[in-house]
Symmetry: C2
Subunit: 282 residues, 2 copies
C-alpha cells in the first residue's frame, strides 16, 4: 500500500485519510474537494499530504466520498482516469444505482461498492477523526464483480482500519438502510421541525428538553448537502419505510385519542423487544 | 432534614433516595412500593432503610414517584396521612390535573408540584443512581400555593441535590413537555415498531444499524407502565404535538416523492438551527 487518493474530504473521506496515515506511516495520500476551504483544511489537518485533481496512475486505492447524487458521474470519470492496478471504492449510503450504472463497464472489475456504517451528525474535514471507522461494519456489495488482486488491496486497508465486513446485494442494502438509517434521519429532522415551530410561540421550551429529546433530535443536526441526495437516490425504499412509520404513528395516535391505556401499554411492550436486539448488537 | 419517605422506588424515586442518603448522612429514609420485589431491591440497594406503608407524622418530606395515572389518588391519600409539618411533592411528568385536583384541598399548602427533567430508558430500583438528578432542571408549578416554611425544606433538599429550579404554571408545563419529551418517546417507539415489522422478513437488519439508529430508537426501551399513563393523562397536548409531527412527516414525504432535492435541502437547513439551540442549552 503506497498511494491512496481521496475525492471528497469531509467526515468520511477525511476519517479514512487520518486512519490510513496512522496505520501506514509511509503512505502517500492525495486528494481533492470541490470546496477550496475544505481542501485547505484537509491539508492543514494532515488528512492528505497533497492536493491533486486526478489520481496518479500508480495509485493503489481511490476513495470516492462525495454526496450520493454526485457519485454516478464521479465513478464513471474516475474509472476513465485510473491505471489498471488501481481499485476504486465509494462510501455512499445507496448502492443499487451505482452498481447498475457500471454493471457493463469495461473497468467494472476495478470498482468495489462499499458502505461503512459510521458517521456523526457533523460534517466537513474538521469533523473527521481517525477512530471513526474503528470496529465499524463495512457493507460490501457484489464482491464477486471485483478483481481478486484488487480486492486484496481493499482487504489490506479494511483490516488495518479494523472494519468488520458484511456482504449483501445492492438492492438488499438499499432496502435495509432505508429502515435502519434513512428513516431515523427523517424522524429526527421532523421532530426538530415540530418543536422549532412550537418554539416560535414559546421561548423557553429548550430549557425543559432532557437527554431523551437530545438523543432523538441529534440527527437533525446532520448535513442537508449529504442527506437530500440520499433521500432522493433511495426514494422508493424510503417511501415504503416512511409510509409504514406514518401509518404506525397514526394508529398509535388513535389509541391515545381513545385513552386506550392498555392498548398503548401492550404496543409499547411489544416494541420493548428492541432492548434485547440493540443490547446484543452494540 | 431528618426524615424522608418515598412512595414508588423506581428510577426516579430510587435516585432521590440514593442522592439524599449521600448528601444527608444522618437522614432516615423510609418508603413503599406496590411491587414487593422492588421494595426488597430498594432495601438491599440502600435506597431506603425501612419499608413503611405510611410516613411517620414527623416526616419532613414525602416524595410521590409512582406512574402518572396513580398520582391523583395517591396524593389525596397521602395528604390525609401526613402531619402538619410534612411537605409532599410528586415527580410526575404531567402537572395540570394534579394541581386542579388539590386546588381547594385544605392541605393544599403542604403540596409542591414538581417535575425533574431527568431519566433514562431504564426503570426500577436497580436503574436508580445517585447522580441521576445532579445539575438537572427541576420544574416547579404553582410555587405560590405552597407554605413558605415547607418550601424551605424542599429548597434544602433540591439545593443539596444540585437541581436547577425553573418555575411555570401547570398548563404551560404540560404543553411544553408534550413537545420536548412525550413526542420524542412516541417517535422513538414507532420507529422501533416500524423496523421490527421489517425485521420479520429480513433478519440481519440490526447488523447494519449504526449509532444514528441506536440514538433515535433508544427511548423505545422505556417502561410502558410509566409511559402509557403519561400519554393518556396529557392526551390533548400530545395529540396537538403528534398531529403537527405527522403533518410535517407527510409534507416531507411529498417532497421526497417529487424528488425535490432543493426543497428537502432547504427544509433540513432550516431545522439545522437546532444545532445552536441544543449546543447552547446542553
Amino acid at each position: 500500500m503506497k498511494k491512496i487518493h481521496i475525492i471528497g474530504l469531509g467526515l468520511l473521506g477525511g476519517s479514512f485519510g487520518l486512519a490510513a496515515a496512522k496505520k501506514f506511516p509511509d503512505i502517500l495520500i492525495s486528494g481533492s474537494d470541490a470546496d477550496e476551504k475544505n481542501l485547505q483544511d484537509a491539508i492543514n489537518l494532515g488528512i492528505i499530504q497533497e492536493a491533486k485533481d486526478a489520481p496518479d496512475a500508480d495509485t493503489d486505492i481511490v476513495i470516492l466520498a462525495t454526496p450520493a447524487d454526485t457519485l454516478n458521474d464521479l465513478l464513471l470519470k474516475t474509472l476513465d482516469q485510473v491505471g489498471e492496478n488501481t481499485l476504486v471504492f465509494d462510501v455512499g449510503s445507496t448502492k443499487a444505482k451505482l452498481c447498475a450504472l457500471v454493471a457493463e463497464h469495461p473497468k467494472r472489475k476495478q470498482y468495489l461498492a462499499a458502505h461503512p456504517i459510521a458517521g456523526t451528525e457533523y460534517s466537513g474535514p474538521k469533523a473527521a477523526f481517525g477512530d471513526l471507522l474503528d470496529r465499524k461494519v463495512m457493507i460490501i456489495c457484489e464482491l464477486e464483480q471485483t478483481d481478486l488482486g484488487l480486492k486484496e488491496k481493499a482487504y489490506e486497508l479494511f483490516d488495518a482500519l479494523n472494519l468488520k465486513l458484511r456482504f449483501m446485494d445492492p438492492e438488499e442494502h438499499d432496502r435495509h438502510l432505508a429502515f435502519v438509517s434513512h428513516l431515523s434521519h427523517i424522524s429526527s429532522f421532523m421532530l426538530g421541525k415540530t418543536v422549532l415551530q412550537k418554539m416560535e410561540d414559546e421561548k423557553n421550551i429548550f430549557d425543559m428538553a432532557g437527554s431523551g429529546f437530545a438523543s432523538t433530535v441529534r440527527l437533525a443536526k446532520s448535513s442537508p448537502a449529504m442527506w437530500a441526495p440520499i433521500l432522493t437516490e433511495n426514494k422508493d425504499n424510503i417511501l415504503t419505510a416512511l409510509d409504514g412509520y406514518i401509518s404506525n404513528l397514526s394508529a398509535f395516535r388513535e389509541k391515545i385519542a381513545a385513552s386506550d391505556g392498555s392498548g398503548l401499554s401492550d404496543e409499547m411492550t411489544e416494541v420493548n423487544k428492541i432492548r434485547d436486539i440493540l443490547d446484543l448488537e452494540k
